[in-house]
């Protein structure tokens, strides 16, 4: 479900607008440790694969996929909660 922008208070937002698959998920993995356990991390990506691959990554890595919204310039943003190291 696409929620209105700023629905989520994210600790860190990664700009992957121009990156092809699978770079948005790679950036997510690289920067997971930059937020505290319990905080939200978001990735902004036009890559259509990210809509499936971000939730799949959460499932595989034991993190929680929170949902998606849209940035002010219309780019999809996927939000993840870090729940473990």
């Amino acid at each position: 479900m696409i929620a209105p922008h700023d629905e989520y208070e994210v600790a860190l937002e990664l700009d992957c607008r121009d990156l092809p698959c699978p770079m948005p998920v790679i950036e997510l993995a690289r920067h997971l440790g930059d937020v505290e356990v319990g905080d939200l991390l978001a990735v902004v990506a036009h890559d259509p694969a990210a809509a499936v691959d971000v939730p799949a990554w959460c499932r595989m890595k034991g993190q929680v996929y929170v949902g998606a919204d849209v940035t002010d310039d219309g780019a999809p943003r996927y939000v993840v909660r870090r729940v473990k190291a």
Binding site: C21, P22, V25, I26, V52, D53, M60
Partner: protein
């Protein structure tokens, strides 16, 4: 020139299999004997007609259907279009087609061209939500249900024939991924297959339409031997396809057991030896020869290229390949990882050594690609 151009590393039979040995001699002989117009009453024409009739009977026998239910088409895709849209044209209820979200693109294109789409989602293993399928099937305006026998990308079998559908809603089944390898399910009014996927020549599709099905030709008709076919039949190729089908059916008990075990080897070894990998599709109710998995942080095109360099030909449903920017709609509908995807589909003579060689090479390839991005 009879040497196989492919080696043991061609693990992509689901895209197209090499010609079955049983079809080669048949094809060569039929090129000389079956060139004429099967409708002509002269000697050469009668010879071509005999071969065409033989091919139809052999195909019907191999598939357990009546000869007059068999139509040869120029491709599996054309058989899908003709079969599915023909059922829609014959429907008294409407032009809605209830179909799973993981149907082959041939079904999706046919629906987009000649019907109204009523898509039903699938579970994580690729099996259609059967309650939703039946619920949509009984709603007014639904003319046809389309459900594949098996998924071409992940191998999951659908319970075709296991649904309670209204009597006046016929079922179309795309059997291209399974025809010959597995018996046809029950319950369909029309079905489609593709010869190059079972070791017949390319350019031969099989359309099956049940005797009592309400089917109307959605395309311009023709005046061939078979009222559903269009254009001059490729008699030699059709006969070779029938010979390959007979051979595949005759050997499938032995081949399927062997291939099922090879899939088990891949499922087990890949999951154990490659970190961050997701093996997808139903582990039990599946095609015997096909297995799919996805590797986190791996670019699909890089994976295809690196495996090719090591002698392995594989297919990938990932985006970020040269041909597409959108991921496989099958993987997407299942909600499984779409990048780093590998589909292996074995040949009839793929061995345990071939599969072990692939499994030995894969962890290093994946690790090398991941190391390029520092993971």
């Amino acid at each position: 020139m009879t040497a196989a151009p492919t080696g043991p590393g061609d693990l992509d039979s689901a895209s197209s299999a090499p010609l079955h040995p049983a079809a080669r001699e048949v094809l060569l002989a039929a090129l000389d004997r079956g060139y004429a117009d099967p409708r002509r009453l002269h000697r050469a024409g009668r010879e071509a007609r005999l071969l065409l009739d033989n091919a139809r009977e052999a195909t019907a026998d191999a598939l357990g259907v009546r000869p007059d239910e068999v139509t040869f088409t120029p491709s599996g895709t054309h058989a899908v279009h003709l079969g599915l849209v023909g059922l829609v044209r014959g429907s008294r209820r409407g032009d809605g087609v209830v179909h799973s979200a993981v149907e082959h693109s041939a079904v999706r294109h046919a629906v987009a061209w000649g019907a109204r789409s009523l898509e039903v989602g699938v579970m994580g293993d690729g099996r259609v939500h059967d309650g939703d399928l039946v619920e949509n099937a009984v709603s007014p305006g639904t003319g046809v249900v389309a459900l594949q026998t098996a998924n071409h990308e992940v191998g999951t079998l659908q319970d075709v024939g296991g649904f309670e559908l209204p009597n006046d809603v016929p079922l179309f089944t795309d059997a291209c991924a399974s025809m010959g390898r597995l018996p046809l399910p029950d319950g369909w009014a029309a079905a489609a297959g593709s010869a190059h996927k079972w070791g017949g020549p390319a350019g031969v599709g099989v359309l099956l339409v049940r005797k009592r099905a309400r089917w109307r030709n959605p395309f311009p008709g023709d005046d061939r031997v078979d009222e559903r076919s269009t254009g001059f039949e490729n008699v030699p190729a059709v006969l070779a396809a029938a010979a390959a089908l007979q051979a595949v059916v005759a050997e499938r008990d032995e081949v399927n057991v062997r291939q099922h075990e090879l899939v088990e080897v891949v499922r087990r070894r890949v999951a154990a030896e490659v970190p961050d990998v997701e093996v997808v599709g139903d582990p039990v109710r599946r095609l015997p020869h096909l297995v799919t998995f996805s590797c986190l942080y791996v670019d699909g095109e890089a994976l295809v290229t690196e495996l090719e360099r090591r002698g392995f030909g594989i297919a990938s449903g990932s985006a970020c390949t040269a041909s597409t920017l959108t991921p496989s709609h099958v993987l997407e509908a299942m909600g499984v990882l779409t990048h780093g995807n590998v589909r292996l589909s074995f040949q009839r003579d793929t061995t345990r050594a071939d599969v072990d060689a692939f499994c030995d090479a894969l962890p290093g390839v994946v690790a090398e690609i991941r190391s390029r991005v520092g993971l």
